[in-house]
């Protein structure tokens, strides 16, 4: 967000109070460029003399770095003594601005916070307009170290008596974050150690496994893990101390013993039915009292229509149809006979509990019953012998109920078991902290063994010998592609395009370019390989637009930098960084000239074709 104050006013006020030169930190590249744009036609000009000095400086500078000769910002810089400085600019432009600033020719530089991390050019005043910064789609608050990095640019040694931090509000600024950041102590730093594939290969090349374990133990990561595990160890020690009074009793491991006993006891109590006042006979009858069953009631035969439970006492009840054709309710225990006769019908959920025509039919059936009907024999189940058995087990296998320390165990168990659980957890955590790094190394080594870079004895194979020379991100993908011969006889431009799309991990949107068909098919192959490797290595973005850009630069030696930049919506500085990074990746491939002379040749010719104009002017 741009600051609430107009940039021209801001600079005027700073000049008026002799607070220039100043660095103004803004949130985005766009905010910086827009701030510069607002100066056009304003009255905030610098003196004619200074304007001339800047002009001669820039002209002289353009002799060494021709890429800035026609930079669109030059008129503003000359006339108003202000400039923008962010990662979207070419390095040569940034060097020019830094040099102008060092010579005190500029009044203000509008910069993004990335400036603070990199190059060193101080000013008298630092203007902060934000308390948060965009990091991958999201705004995060600036940390204390970041704020101090920003503020640290204020005050030049030997040129200023006092440095000044000016805070001016923009939407979403939080003053307290800045207050804390300016006066607080910076955050402690943490190790960011990751075990990468080239690291594993390179370590195994020169050392054996024991030595490597020692080397990993020497890392700052392990140092910090040890610090943390020491804290856990202290905690564990106090818990062990608290566990002292709960040592062995009648049995050595009484906590466990009590736990099992307690569990068994509880299970026993659960076996008892919760609410069931039915007699065993009735329980045995109920499965037979289904709709359609012919039963005998004291008043005569009837047919069951439905079975249900009474609302109040939960007693089993029946709805029946009698010989007269009336529907009545009766408790299930009043059933005297259960006959071996069932009339099939479809029960319904509302009165009369069956289809009306069935009711009529049932009435007819009831009136035509023979005198004697076979009854269903009901077998009453004897009570399950489960409970006494369990009780027996409890007394026989567990000595607890009769043990002299029974009451003590019962009292101490909750606390003792809690402490023991905690101590077990802590022991595990400490173990994980101690061995974590080594495990990660072993995991990576296993993957490399699976892919054939390592032998079973953790020696480098032939592939491993050259694979270790690829020491960049996505090394596994690149070495696998080389082993598949994906690059044999490829055009230098295509190779550079693929390397560019592997190396570029910025998701800042760029424009879509027409993709040459050769590049499209190669990229599809690379994407398939990258996806198949995704369990072992996070796949790169593989953007096709950056690939096309690099391919175009190398494929067409007549292409000028200006027309290349015009063909994309990416910022000039981003294009430069993309190509420089591609160059780095290509030089890694060139390093394989002993084992892969063909590929190294292609990479070399791509590098030669790439180094022209802007890419050559920097030392």
């Amino acid at each position: 967000m741009p600051p609430a104050i107009h940039p021209v006013d801001l600079i005027e006020i700073l000049r008026q109070h002799r607070l220039t030169p100043a660095i103004v930190f803004l949130t985005s590249r766009r905010a910086c460029d827009e701030a510069i744009d607002t100066f056009a036609h304003s009255s905030a000009r610098v003196s004619h003399q200074r304007s001339e000095t800047i002009r001669t400086f820039l002209e002289k500078f353009a002799k060494d770095f021709p890429s800035i000769e026609h930079h669109p910002l030059i008129p503003v810089v000359q006339e108003y003594g202000v400039a923008a400085h962010h990662a979207g600019h070419l390095p040569s432009w940034k060097i020019a601005i830094e040099e102008l600033m060092r010579q005190g020719l500029l009044d203000a530089v509008f910069a993004t916070t990335t400036l603070a991390a990199g190059v060193d050019f101080p000013a008298r005043t630092v203007v902060i307009t934000q308390s948060s910064v965009r990091k991958s789609q999201d705004f995060t608050d600036l940390t204390i170290s970041e704020i101090q990095q920003l503020a640290g640019r204020g005050g030049r040694r030997g040129k200023d008596l006092v440095g000044v931090v000016v805070i001016t509000p923009s939407p979403y600024i939080d003053l307290h974050i800045l207050g804390k950041g300016l006066t607080g102590y910076p955050e402690p730093i943490d190790s960011q150690f990751v075990v990468s594939y080239p690291m594993v290969l390179n370590l195994l090349k020169a050392h054996n496994l024991d030595q490597i374990e020692g080397l990993l133990a020497k890392s700052f990561a392990q140092f910090q893990l040890n610090q943390r595990s020491a804290i856990h160890q202290d905690h564990l020690d106090t818990i062990q101390e608290q566990l002292q009074p709960y040592g062995p009793r009648e049995c050595a491991d009484w906590v466990n013993q009590w736990k099992v006993f307690d569990l068994a006891r509880r299970r026993k109590s659960h076996r008892q039915p919760l609410v069931n006042n039915d007699t065993p006979f009735l329980t045995a009858c109920l499965p037979f009292l289904t709709p359609g069953r012919l039963i005998g009631l004291p008043k005569g035969p009837a047919i069951v229509l439905r079975q249900y439970r009474s609302r109040g006492t939960f007693a089993p009840m029946l709805s029946v149809v009698r010989a007269k054709g009336t529907i009545g309710e009766c408790p299930a225990h009043s059933v005297t006979q259960i006959y071996d006769r069932v009339f099939e019908f479809q029960p319904s959920r509302t009165l009369p509990w069956c289809p009306p025509h069935v009711l009529h039919q049932l009435k007819k059936e009831l009136s035509q019953l023979p005198a004697r009907l076979p009854t269903v024999p009901i077998l009453t189940e004897t009570q399950e012998a489960d409970d006494p058995l369990l009780a027996e087990v409890l007394t026989e296998e567990f000595p607890c109920p009769t043990c002299p320390s029974h009451s003590a165990c019962k009292k101490d168990f909750p606390l003792a078991s809690k402490l023991r659980l905690k101590s077990q957890q802590l022991t595990k955590t400490i173990q994980a902290l101690r061995d974590g790094l080594w495990h990660r190394f072993q995991q990576k080594a296993e993957v490399l063994h699976k892919f054939g870079y390592l032998t079973a004895g953790s020696q480098l194979t032939v592939d491993g010998e050259w694979g270790r020379l690829i020491r960049i991100n996505h090394s596994l993908l690149i070495t696998e592609l080389i082993r598949m011969d994906a690059f044999s006889g490829i055009a230098p431009g295509l190779l550079a395009g693929v390397m560019a799309s592997i190396s570029h991990d910025d998701d800042r949107p760029g424009s879509y370019m027409r993709l040459p068909s050769g590049l499209a098919s190669v990229l599809t192959q690379v994407r398939a390989v990258a996806d198949s490797l995704s369990p072992y290595e996070p796949p790169p973005l593989l953007r096709s637009d950056v690939a096309a850009l690099a391919e175009r630069w190398i494929g067409n030696p007549q292409l000028t930098w200006a027309s290349l930049v015009r063909s994309t919506s990416m910022a000039e500085g981003d294009v430069y960084r993309l190509l420089a990074r591609t160059l780095e990746f290509l030089s890694q491939l060139y390093g394989l000239k002993v084992t892969h002379p063909g590929l190294a040749d292609i990479a070399h010719s791509a590098m030669v074709a790439m180094r022209r104009e802007v890419l050559q002017e920097l030392p």
């Binding site: 005050g155 200023d160 509000p169 102590y185 030392p619």
Partner: protein, 351 residues
């Protein structure tokens, strides 16, 4: 004293004195605001009025004495004086006066001292000489804020090592920084003494002082460990890692660790870092893994003092904190004027 006079006097008094007067007279006076307090005090029957007036005079007298004392003290110690706490000047209507800048914030005083110092012969700070001296027999970690002169330490250390015919490697995290340092060192030591190695550049690689990015040094150390190249490791006397706080960089931090672990034992390490929270951890770590002791030089004070200002979108410039200079670790209190203006901005951001 008539009614209006008394009202004005009361309104000009800080609210804590009003509470003092209201104690025992007004029920639950601590729940009330200034306006309401004044109204209630003025509504007392005339027989209590005299007592109140007497008390008011007493309070005003003690206040004046205190203010005089404060002024005398601030005159005696001009350096640490904070701008006097401005009590809100109230117009007779009793409304706070949000108007044009009040003279109570003295711009002259804030901006005093800004300017160019007299040219002075460069005298190294004690911590700088300390760092260079300790480098003779131990590794050194320097943690100091940006722009406080870490480069001086590096240059002195390089001179010291080169006098002993040792090779020196200087690494920085960025290629741009490496190039700048290369040019700087070339001017200092002569072009035949300095070489540079980056991803795609290799100049004068046999020189006694080599500038490179940390990744390159890491690769060299790996190659040297596997016996492929001879990096003159036996003559390597000093490795300087600039911007060592990159150790905590999520992507590249591991390179610094690898470099430090693989660094040959006879070479001294000089870690230059911006201020970080736990340099003693780093020092303990080096002490634990390196055969030679490690010395931590921690310097928190900036060589140029820093001052905070708040610029309101209307163009008003006021001090940011109550203390003029920004100090570390002492907490912070925003200047009341900053607080007021910022609150105003938050209510009405677009002016």
């Amino acid at each position: 004293m008539n009614h209006d006079d008394l009202k004005l006097e009361l309104l000009n008094l800080p609210v804590k004195y009003l509470h003092q007067m209201a104690r025992g007279r007004i029920h639950r006076h601590f729940r009330l605001g200034k306006q309401r307090l004044v109204e209630l005090i003025l509504a007392f029957p005339p027989d209590q009025r005299l007592a109140i007036e007497a008390e008011l005079q007493q309070i005003q007298k003690t206040r004046q004495e205190r203010l005089a004392l404060q002024e005398a003290r601030s005159a005696a110690l001009p350096k640490i004086s904070s701008p006097p706490l401005r009590s809100k000047v109230l117009s007779p209507k009793g409304k706070p006066n949000f108007g044009p800048p009040q003279p109570s914030v003295n711009l002259q005083q804030i901006l005093e001292g800004i300017g160019v110092p007299e040219p002075m012969p460069f005298v190294p700070d004690p911590w700088q000489t300390e760092a260079v001296e300790y480098l003779a027999h131990s590794d050194v970690i320097v943690s100091a804020p940006t722009g406080s002169g870490k480069t001086y330490v590096a240059i002195q250390a390089i001179k010291q090592a080169m006098a002993l015919n040792q090779t020196v490697i200087y690494t920085s995290p960025l290629k741009a920084l490496s190039n700048t340092k290369f040019m700087e060192f070339t001017q200092l030591f002569g072009s035949d003494q300095v070489g540079i190695l980056t991803g795609d550049r290799r100049d004068n690689a046999q020189a006694p002082l080599l500038v490179m990015t940390t990744e390159i040094l890491r690769n060299l150390l790996y190659d040297a460990a596997s016996g492929e190249i001879d990096l003159r490791l036996h003559t390597l006397g000093l490795v300087i890692l600039d911007e060592s706080q990159y150790l905590a960089d999520p992507e590249r931090g591991v390179v610094w660790e690898e470099t430090i672990i693989l660094c040959p034992a006879q070479a001294r390490l000089l870690l230059l870092s911006a201020s970080i929270g736990n340099p003693q951890d780093l020092a303990e770590w080096l002490q634990a893994i390196r055969p030679i002791p490690c010395h931590l030089v921690r310097h928190a004070k900036r060589s140029v003092p820093l001052r905070g200002l708040y610029l309101h979108p209307t163009g008003q410039l006021v001090p940011l904190f109550r203390n003029q200079d920004i100090h570390q670790g002492k907490g912070y209190h925003f200047h009341p004027e900053t607080k007021r203006l910022f609150a105003e901005y938050e209510i009405k951001p677009f002016i």
